[in-house]
């Protein structure tokens, strides 16, 4: 792969679960061998990086986020060699690989914890956070409100409490212990040396605890990150850290440090507001979110996304906004989980192709690196009757045949039921059918990604928000190295007209980027554009 320290800025990332992607050995669940076989599909789609959900050995009580061995591959997914092969094949196709590193906690089945709980004198004891009473760190909130009542769990063996911000079977590591830091660096180095290009640092705000605080975003946590980043820069200058910090923008900002912590971080507050804006038919939520987004160091980048493997989180919104989102998007109470909505993009958009396209258009044009969740490129549906967040982690739908082409196993053996209803079922929604049509969502997504990658304005450019009088129209200009792109989106279900003040770019000719057609030159008057329902324009502003 070509060396490019800022590759993550120009990337289009595809998030997938190894287990859900492709089963090549007929055991009912996907694995690396299968994934490797589908790399051509990803190449064809146009994505340039793949983010894999955890594939490490694990008791699977939190879908792999409870890790019991950091430097191996779960046998269900194959072997370390299978992974290496996958890595090489991906790189051969110019696809980089981002894996998960669950820094904050391990499974309670991890040997470290087994040792730590075995005896109070064990050297690993101090690798976790213990207490005699559950009264410490009272101000820390509970994250998995649906299942946990406390952040402390009682360990029968060592007769003391251990700290866990997530499930009780996921004890938190103690980052005040330098040995922990060193060991985690060793884990990182293991994968990076193998060729992994980036690490998503899961649950990074919760690394360190202190009494009298919320135990989130503490300075000590940032020190840990600086330590790890420093090692990274010394040894692997073109690898990347991606922080998962579900916080308000000014708190997330801290995870970039002065370009000495993480390279990327997810923009959590923006995501629900894109959905809100479409439902309200008003650009205000998006504009507000972007207004409140702080500037970040030049080498850093936001990661923007529409959906992911978790519920659509509503932690970073006000109570009224949350109520609104629930009322509009989770009319079925089963769709609610923790503080979010566990649905995929297509069902949230009520299978409306235009809205799905509009949201993807925003995803690809707003500042940040876009992350597509597997299956959303064909408009996959979900299953809210599956437990936890498994409803959005069903098998990838490759064709309308046996097991949706996902696996040759007996359907009863599949790790999860397929989506099979008449609206989103694999017989209707699958890759094969959509490949055969130039007008399918898949084909459209390919074109979208292609146009996005045709310029670096989207990935690296500045953004200037425009404020047309019509609040249903969201318009902004991206600019990078003299190149300018005007993005205009109609957030409403009805045709709209908008007059844009483009006089700063007077004299340029807008060329519509999908069709290549020139529009009238920008003059002294306000530029009038009309847009169909949910329609958007990308214009390259050319000096002609």
């Amino acid at each position: 792969m070509q060396s490019n320290p800022l590759w993550y800025k120009d990337a289009v990332i595809y998030e997938l679960h190894v287990r859900a992607f492709y089963d090549s050995d007929g055991d009912g669940a996907g694995e690396f061998k299968g994934l490797t076989q589908k790399l051509d599909y990803l190449k064809d789609l146009g994505v340039s990086a793949v983010w894999l959900l955890p594939f490490y050995p694990s008791p699977w009580r939190d879908d792999g986020y409870d890790i019991s061995d950091y430097t191996s591959v779960h046998s269900a997914y194959g072997t370390l060699d299978d992974f290496k092969t996958f890595l090489d094949e991906a790189h051969r196709r110019d696809i980089r690989v981002i894996t998960e590193l669950v820094l904050n906690h391990t499974s309670d089945q991890h040997p470290w914890f087994q040792q730590a709980r075995g005896s109070r004198d064990n050297p690993k004891r101090d690798w976790y956070v213990w207490s005699e009473t559950p009264d410490r760190y009272k101000d820390a909130r509970i994250i998995f409100t649906d299942t946990e009542q406390s952040n402390w769990a009682w360990d029968i063996s060592s007769k003391s409490y251990y700290w866990h911000r997530f499930f009780s079977h996921q004890p938190d590591l103690n980052y005040d212990n330098p040995a922990v830091r060193e060991e985690m660096w060793n884990v990182m180095r293991f994968w990076l040396e193998m060729g992994v290009d980036g690490l998503r640092l899961d649950a990074v705000p919760y690394l360190v605890e202190r009494d009298g605080t919320s135990c989130e975003n503490l300075p000590e946590t940032h020190d840990v990150l600086k330590f790890l980043r420093h090692r990274l820069d010394e040894n692997f200058p073109d690898k990347m850290f991606l922080a998962e910090a579900n916080q308000w923008p000014h708190d997330v900002r801290a995870y970039f440090g002065s370009a000495d912590e993480c390279h990327m971080a997810f923009h959590f507050p923006l995501m629900p507001r894109m959905f809100m804006a479409i439902k309200l038919e008003d650009r205000k939520p998006v504009v507000d979110a972007l207004d409140r987004t702080p500037a970040i160091p030049a080498p850093c980048q936001w990661g923007i996304f529409l959906r992911n493997h978790d519920e659509l989180t509503l932690e970073m919104v006000t109570m009224d906004e949350r109520d609104y989102m629930y009322d509009e998007f989770a009319k079925d109470a089963r769709a609610k989980l923790n503080l979010g909505i566990r649905r995929r993009l297509a069902p949230l958009m009520e299978s409306d192709r235009r809205r799905i396209e509009l949201l993807n258009g925003l995803l690809m044009s707003l500042p940040g690196t876009p992350i597509i969740y597997y299956g959303d490129e064909i408009g996959m549906g979900d299953n809210i009757y599956l437990g936890d967040r498994n409803g959005v982690r069903t098998p990838m739908q490759w064709n309308g045949g046996w097991n949706a082409g996902f696996s040759a196993a007996d359907p009863e053996r599949l790790y999860s039921a397929l989506i099979s209803n008449p609206l989103y079922g694999y017989q209707i929604v699958n890759v094969e059918s959509q490949k055969r049509s130039e007008h399918s969502l898949l084909s459209w997504m390919k074109q979208l990604i292609r146009v996005r990658k045709s310029t670096r304005v989207f990935s690296r450019g500045t953004m200037e928000m425009l404020h047309p009088l019509n609040h249903r129209v969201l318009a902004y200009v991206r600019e990078f190295e003299g190149e300018k792109i005007l993005v205009v989106s109609n957030l409403s279900s009805q045709a709209q007209a908008a007059e844009l003040d483009l006089r700063r770019w007077k004299g340029t000719v807008p060329i519509e980027m999908f069709g290549g057609n020139p529009f009238p030159r920008i003059g002294d008057l306000l530029y009038l554009l009309t847009l169909g329902p949910y329609h958007f324009y990308w214009f390259r502003l050319r000096q002609l």
């Binding site: 809100m276 309200l280 008003d282 650009r283 205000k284 939520p285 006000t318 109570m319 009224d320 906004e321 609104y324 047309p468 009088l469 019509n470 609040h471 249903r472 409403s492 009805q494 709209q496 007209a497």
Partner: protein
């Protein structure tokens, strides 16, 4: 469909940008720089607090203010309130300024608002007076909710008034509307009211807009037309009503001429309805009514009574053309009453008003003069009422007004007789 030729391009442009709305609030202004900011802030907070999920717009039709009112309207901000608000507005808040040309007046302002409501397909509207010093954000909710969520078409306000405030309304306008139209609206001429989009469009289709209805005329006309055309009416409690020092205190004759004239004109317009209608019904009321200790007024009636005594004699030639001889005799008897026993009984008052109404209808004398002749009688009635009830508690006063309303209803056949008698019939 209403003509929109008088809307300026700029206004239409702003409306297009707003698009379809659920709630429209209008504040017509003309030189209200002292009070407009307060009202705008109350409206914005009210909309944010109670309608934060709904598409709202605040429109200000301004009749060419020269004191900077439109600028104050545009710039009034609630940023100091935002910390206190529990709701963060989900939507863009629209504020539209709509200067109109021509004679500044309620008609053009209201018509502008109704046209906007029509264009924006507003489901519910509220119109607020720019001079209410006691307006609160809750007023918006109280006036909009019945129309927006409860399917009412017209929402009349209910104020907590000082004892003797608004006696023209309570002593004449309201009971006449009650007796004639059968609806017990306590504030038929208020500057603050709510209405459904449907009713706004209905008003637009009427031919009233080219006639000179004057400020109060339009309000009475709206109230009575809504009743006559079968729309659902309700009342909504707003709270205390405090206005700046009354502008019309010095021009009572002018006020009576306008308001009572409008009332009588409406009676003419809606003749076929109220002649056939009898009885009255209380209206559904929204809001929690509470009592507020308002500053009591100290009143002087001596001068009024002295003037009354001298004035009535002088007015006899005029009154002869309006009232029946019997009524005139009764009124003249009041002259001989000493101050402390001065009374204008309900029966006499109602009879007088009805005779005035009929005389108006038959154009016994020039209508303008007829209405002016009512002023000294109104003053006498007010004096009588104040003298009689100076120490009465609010509840007792409410009963008095209810009794008065019933008296108006009881004498309605008399009104009908006089109204339908041939012109020039016996005096």
């Amino acid at each position: 469909m209403a003509e929109t030729a008088q809307l300026s391009d700029e206004f239409i442009r702003q409306l297009s940008a707003v698009g379809e709305v659920d709630v429209l609030v209008g504040i017509p202004t003309f030189n209200n720089k002292d009070t407009i900011e307060r009202v705008v802030r109350a409206v914005q907070i009210g909309l944010t607090k109670y309608f934060h999920r709904d598409r709202c717009v605040l429109i200000n039709p301004d009749g060419g203010s020269t004191d900077g009112t439109p600028e104050i309207f545009k710039n009034a901000s609630v940023s100091d309130f935002e910390i206190m608000l529990t709701s963060n507005p989900l939507r863009t808040f629209h504020r539209v300024s709509a200067p109109y040309h021509g004679i500044p007046g309620k008609e053009t302002a209201l018509r502008t608002l109704f046209v906007a409501a029509d264009l924006l397909r507003a489901k519910a509207c509220a119109i607020l007076s720019p001079t209410s010093l006691s307006v609160t954000p809750e007023w918006v909710e109280s006036l909009v909710r019945p129309a927006y969520r409860e399917n009412f078409d017209f929402v009349a306000p209910l104020y907590q008034r000082q004892k003797f405030d608004g006696l023209l309304v309570k002593g004449l306008l309201s009971p006449v509307v009650r007796a004639a139209y059968g609806a017990r609206i306590r504030e038929p001429v208020a500057g603050d009211f709510g209405l459904s989009g449907k009713l706004a469009r209905h008003f637009l289709d009427k031919n009233i807009w080219d006639q000179d209805m004057t400020t109060f005329g339009l309000e009475i006309w709206m109230t009575t037309t809504a009743i006559v055309d079968g729309f659902k009416i309700s009342e909504s409690f707003l709270g205390p009503r405090i206005q700046p020092a009354p502008q019309f205190g010095q021009d009572l004759p002018g006020t009576i001429r306008q308001v009572v004239g409008a009332l009588f004109k409406c009676l003419e317009m809606h003749e076929s309805y109220w002649l056939a209608h009898s009885g009255s019904e209380a209206l559904p009321t929204f809001g929690f009514q509470y009592d507020v200790a308002l500053e009591p007024l100290k009143l002087s009636t001596k001068t009024i009574l002295d003037n009354f005594r001298s004035n009535i004699d002088q007015l006899v030639p005029v009154l002869e053309s309006i009232l029946t001889p019997a009524t005139l005799v009764d009124i003249r008897k009041m002259i001989d009453l000493p101050d402390k026993q001065f009374r204008c009984a309900d029966e006499l008052w109602v009879k007088t008003i009805y005779e005035f109404a009929a005389a108006y209808h038959h154009s016994a004398i020039n209508r303008d003069h007829l209405l002016q002749a009512l002023t000294p009688l109104y003053r006498a009635r007010v004096s009588s009422f104040i003298l009689e009830n100076a120490k009465a508690p609010a509840a007792k006063l409410e009963q008095k007004f209810e009794d008065l309303g019933q008296e108006f209803e009881r004498q309605k056949p008399y009104l009908i007789d006089r109204w339908t008698a041939k012109a020039g019939g016996d005096r």
